[in-house]
Assembly symmetry: C2
Homo-oligomer: 297 residues x 2
Amino acid sequence: MRLMLLALLCLAACAQQPVAPPAGRASAQVLEASAPSDWRRLDPEDTIYLELASGRVVIELAPAFAPLHAQNIKALAREQYFDGLVILRSQDNYVVQWGDPAEDEKKARPIRSAKSSLPPEFAREATPDLPFSVLADGDVYAPEAGHSTGFPAARGNGKAWLAHCYGMLGVSRGNTADSGSGAGLYVVIGHSPRHLDRNITLAGRVVKGMELLSALPRGTGALGFYENPEQHVKVRALRVAADLPASQRTELELLRTDTATWTEYVDSRRWRREEWFLDKVGHVELCNVPLPVREKK
Amino acid sequence: MRLMLLALLCLAACAQQPVAPPAGRASAQVLEASAPSDWRRLDPEDTIYLELASGRVVIELAPAFAPLHAQNIKALAREQYFDGLVILRSQDNYVVQWGDPAEDEKKARPIRSAKSSLPPEFAREATPDLPFSVLADGDVYAPEAGHSTGFPAARGNGKAWLAHCYGMLGVSRGNTADSGSGAGLYVVIGHSPRHLDRNITLAGRVVKGMELLSALPRGTGALGFYENPEQHVKVRALRVAADLPASQRTELELLRTDTATWTEYVDSRRWRREEWFLDKVGHVELCNVPLPVREKK
């Protein structure tokens, strides 16, 4: 049944000769023509800064999908839990991960006011109030893919969840669902590992500074862990943007994902109207829709 | 019509509650149980080495899909065209590219015996003799996705083409289809840019040494070009493996993609039977099937 439907789908939907796209603009022109109201400011209360010697990684938290984890990551940041901890792992085509390098639990940094374990937030109810811009192109992993509250997401059977696209922030866990707290965090640096969706809590996404993580040397141990502690990259601090004076914040704007401009932008990623594209494509996959970010105007 | 079919597909095919996978083995066990005949040796005549100060990147060419380009890249290598040229570009979540840094055509390195332009090899005829292991999970970009002659590929309307998965080697071109020759080459280092499929010739794929490319500092110029020539990473040499003494070759074996073991391996990537996976997934997307590579036994 499933294979038959797939074949039917593709015979009907997948044009295989280069075809002319419907009239429209290319991505750069869509963004140029956007109105100020098509953009939103990062909320400093939902923004964290991972401060490395090489610079600042700006991460937007996703309280609409992971409210408990977003809150706990901020609580950890506010007790300065992460300061002086390290990037432990860089696995090629997968993730960079930071946290406490102590192998002996007795030497592990104590968590003071934050929680040390949380219920999983792998998916949430797809309630009517949750905005969701559906991607018409389908998805291999979920009944529906699209964007919600600025994040790549998926939906099905009454649930909605964030998708493991490039740059997403996740919460490390052990073998049990409630074994993550936010004390260990990872960022996707390779081809989007969508098989992790609904297996682990995603709590946000890098909006600036990805290259400070993605270009780190890969660890040579199993799973990309650094074998020698000297290879660890120190986390100078992890801070909630709201806790910094305004002058020290990184002011960014992100394209809203619930507007007509967003729909046009997605279409411009589906139909590649730039001269270079000889085949204008006509399809776009969820993680190939990068979220436009710009300096505050 | 298209949207209706997508909805139908997903209602029927996308299980949204964690379900138990059919009986089977996890990836590690599939590989452990494999027979020697499930593996193939790299053919030294179809293997090139990109030699950097940091080490060797081993690349398998794909003559079944890009015979003219594979041949010409070897011809360029054999006239030592690449030796002393540089990695010019590292664009985050996209590609690393190498070639001639000369901006003035008069100063460009001459191509001697190799061809300086070639007809495009964006797709080939899907002839009956071309092996193709279809992935039952569908694909956003093509009627069929799967693996052919060891490479991720797609198929439709009588054509077959390589897919822009992580690690694939492509041939830079200008705005015209025949403007590539292999004198400029790129490797995918981010989320697979499948919108490039059938727009540019893919000619192979990195099988070892990806981290020597993917962890390079990102260029700060437009499209990730290095703005300062001092940032260029020198290409010591690019060689055809067959031209080196056997003792200097990197001997690798790759899992064949046309066997029952391959089918079982793909299934083990679709159904994640490892204990850690609380949701066993049940789907796998083309570029999330990594090709197993091992040292020669």
